[in-house]
Amino acid sequence: MRLTVRKGRYCLSAALCVGLFGLLAATHSIRDLRIRVNDLDFLSANSPVLAADQAIREHFGSDERLIIAFEGIERQWSDPEFRQDLAFFLKQLTRSHNISQLLLDRLFRPHFDARDTTSEPYFLHPPDRPWIERALAVTAVRGQLAAGRSGRTAFLEFPALSASGVASIEQRVREAAARLDSQRPGAYRVRVFGRHVVLNSLGKAIFDDLKRLLPWSFLIIALLFWGMFRSWVLVGLILFQSGVTVALTLAIQARLGHPLSLMTAIIPVLITVLGIADEIHFFDTFLTLRSEEPFRSAPALAWETLRRLFFPCTAITLTTVIGFVSFWATEAPALQVFGLIAGIGLAVSWLISVTLVPTVLAVVPIRVRPRRRSRTRRLPTWFLHPAFLAILSLALIPGIVRLHINDGWTRNFRPTHPIVQDVRWFEKESVGLYQLDLMLVLKDEHRWTEPTKLVALARLQREISAFPEVTASLSLPDLLRDRAWELGEPAAPRPPLPSKQSEVDRLLGTYALFNEETFARMFLDRSATATRLIFAVASDDYRTATRVRYAVDSAIQKTFRQGEVESRVGGSAERGRALIESIVGNQGISVLLSLGVSLIVLGFASSQGGKALRCIAANAWALLLVLGTAGWLGLEMGVASSSFLALGVGVGLDYGIHMAFHHEGTAADHDSVVQRVAANVFIVSAGLSVMMLSENPTIAQLGFLIVGSLVASGYTAVVIFSLDRREKAPSITSAEEMNTPHPLQIEVTAHQNP
C-alpha cells in the first residue's frame, strides 16, 4: 500500500488524537497511586530478621510505638503548671475516643500506694512530685521512658498501628498543641516521634522531590535538544515521548498496585532521561542523512534511520532493561518492583522510539534553524590515550578498599530537616527511636520466671548495656524490680530480683490486676518459656546497629550454655542493619547478573562475542573507576546509593554498544560515533544530574554516582574501542576535517563569535 505524505499526516494526526484519548483513559489509574515508604519492603520475605520480628509479634504482641514529647520551653515537669497544661493538652487530645483508649502517660500514671485514704478508696493513686522524682531515679521503665533528661519533657506513648493511623494522630496532636498554644503562647513544644513518622515524612518528601525534579528534567532535556537540533518539532516530540512514557509507566504501576516508594519515586526521572537516549541517535542520524542526501524523501530517510539504529537502540534498551531486570534476582521486594517498573517504563519508551518517532520524522516537516558556524574543540589526544586510562585506573581503583557501608533512614533527609532535628533531639533527650529486640526461648523444661533464669537474664542485660551504643535497655527483671519497689517503701532502694518463685508470680500478677498486662506480655510470653529484651540504640545508622548486634551475640555466648536458649534478633535497628547489608550485597548479584546476561544477549544477537565482551569490560572498568572515586571521596554505600552499580551497568553499556555496533566504517565515521556518544553522555548525564538537586541526600548521592558512572562508561568505551583505530591511524580525525559538519558539534564545539 502506498501512502502520500499528506495522507500520512492526516493518519498521524488521527492516530495521535486516538492515542491521546487512550492515554487519558489509561492514566486515569494514576489517581490511585499511593505513596508508601516501608523498610520491610527492602527485606526478603524469608529474611531471618523478619521471621524474628514475626515470632516476637506472636509471642509479645505488636508494640510499634508513637511517642509524643510534651516539652516545656521554660517549665520543668515538676512545675504544677506544667502538669495542669499537660492535662489540658491531654483532654484536647483525648477528645478522640481511640486516642483516649490507647494513649499512655507513664510519668503521671497512677501508681500503687500502700497508704489508704478515705478520699481515694482504691489502690492506684495519682503520683505526687516526690514520688515521681524517686521513680525516675530508681526504676528502669519510668526512669528511661517517662521523662526527658532535661527535666522539661513528658513523653506520651501510643501504639502505632498503621502509617495512615499515625498520620491521623499527628494531625490531632497538632490541633491539640495549637489549642494549648492559644492559651499559653510559646510555652510548650510538642513533637511526635516514631518509625512511621519518619517513613510518612519520607514518603511526603519523595513525592515533593518528584514534583520538583521531574519538571526540571523535562526543561533540561528540552533545552539540550533545542541546543542540539534547533527544531521545535523535535523538542516537542521528545517532550511528548517523555510525558507519555512517564504517564503510562505510573499508570501501569498504579494498576499493578505498587505504591510510590523510595526506589520507585526515582523512576520517572530515570526513564525520562534514559528514554530519550535513543532519540539523540535517531534525530542526529536522520538529520545527517538528510544533509548528505537532500533529494531523498523524508519517509525514506526515516526508514533508513530506523534500519540503521534499530539494532543499537534496541540493544541499548535491552541491556538497560536487563540492568533493571537484574534487580529481580535480589531478595528485596522494593528492588524487584523498582526493576520491574523501570523495565516497563523503558519498554514503553522504546516502543514510542521505534514507532512514533520515525513516523513523525517521516511525515512532519522538520524545520532546522541554521546554526552559527562553529569550530570543533578536539578532545586532547592524551586524554583518549590508553596510557592515561591506565594511570587513572591505578590512581582511582585502589580507593575501593576505603569504601564502607553505612546508611540510616534519617540520612534520607537533609540535616536541617525538622525530622532529623527532632530525631537528634530525641536521641539526646531520651532513648532514641530505634531498638533491637532480643527474643530468648528456653530449650529445656524451665521457665524464665525461675529466679536463677532471671539472674542470668539480668547478667546478659548488664553485659550488653555496657556497650556505649546501647542507650537504654528493658527486660523482665526490670519489670519485676520496678514493681517490687512500687509496692514497697518509696524511700527504699530498688529491690534485688526476687529469690522465690511465689514472689515472682505475685509481682507479675499485679501487672494483670493493675490493667498493665500488656507491659508484662511485652517481655514474657504466656507460657513463660520465651522472653524479650529491648535495647535502644544511639542512632539508626548501620555501624551502630552492627556493633550492638555483635555485642548481643557475644553476650549470649558468654551467659548461656550451648543449646540452653535459642536466640532471635529483631527490631527496627536490626531490620535496618540487615536490609542495608542485604541491599548492598544484592547489588553485587545484580551487577554480575546484569553483566553476564548482557554479554550473552549481545554475543548471541550480534554473533560477535569479542565485541560484546569488550563492551562488558569497558562498562565494568568504568564502574570500578567510580567505586574507587567514591572510596577516595569518602562516600558511604547505602540502600539508594549502591543502586548506581546496577543502573550504571544498564545505562553505561549503551556507549560500548554504540561504539562496537555502529555501521560506519571510516575514521571520520568513527569520530562521528564518538561525538554521538559524547553528546549522549552529556545529555543523559545532564538530565540525570537533576537527581543531585534532590532534597534527599542519598538520592543526590545516587545521582552523582550515576552521572559519574555514565561519564566513566562513555570514556572507557571510547578509549577501548578506539584502540583498533589507534593501531591503524595515529590520531582521531576531528569533525573539523570532515566535509559535512556534524549536527552534534554543539556538544563538543565552542561557538565562534559572529
Partner: protein, 206 residues
Amino acid sequence: MKPHIDPLADDCQEGEDGRVARLSHSRLPASSAKMERRMATLFLLALVLIAWQALRTKPLGPPSLEIVTKKGEQLLPVAVPSWRSDPDLPLKLPERLAFLKERALLWPGVGNMEGLSDCQVFVRLSPQHWAWRPASLIQVQQWLGTRRAGGSVKAWQLLHFPAVSFLDDDDGDGDPLDARELLEAGPGAEVEVFCGSAAPPSGGRP
C-alpha cells in the same frame, strides 16, 4: 560549504505522482537484517518476561497486627489514665453490677470457679477499674471474719480492703484476699459484694 537545507524539502521529495519512495529501499548489508531480527526476538522475549514478572509480583502489605492479651485480660485504656475523671456509679443494683462488670478484670488466684456463684465481688483498684471474682457465701463470710452456722450476708455490701492486706498472702495460695481482710469500715480500697438476688448467676466472668 554546507548546502542550504530547505526545511520543507521533504515534501518536495515525493514522486511526481505525489507518492513517496518505497520504504524498503535500504542501503544496509543483509547481515544487519539478521542481527535486527535476533535482537527483536530477544526484546520481545524480554517483554514477555516483564509481563510475566509483573503479574506475579504482588504488592507488599504492612505486617499483621498481633494482640497477645486475651479477652478480659486487659481493659481499655491500656493503663490507668491520669486525665480521666472518676466515673459516676449507678445507684440501682442491676445497673451498678453491669457497670462494674464492664470495667473489671479477673482477680488473681481464683482457680476453679465451680460452686462460686453465690456472690460477685468487685475490688476497686483505681478510679476507673475494678477486679472481679466470684465467691461462695462461705468465702465472703471468711473474708469478713463472720463465719458461723447458718449465717447470711446482705444482697449488696460496701466493704474495704486495706492496701497492707493486699500486699500479703497469709495462706500462700496466690490469692491476696485472705480471711478477715475485708473490713466493714475504711479506709482501704472499696469492695462491693453482690450476693443472692443481686448477683444473678452470670455463667462466668464478666
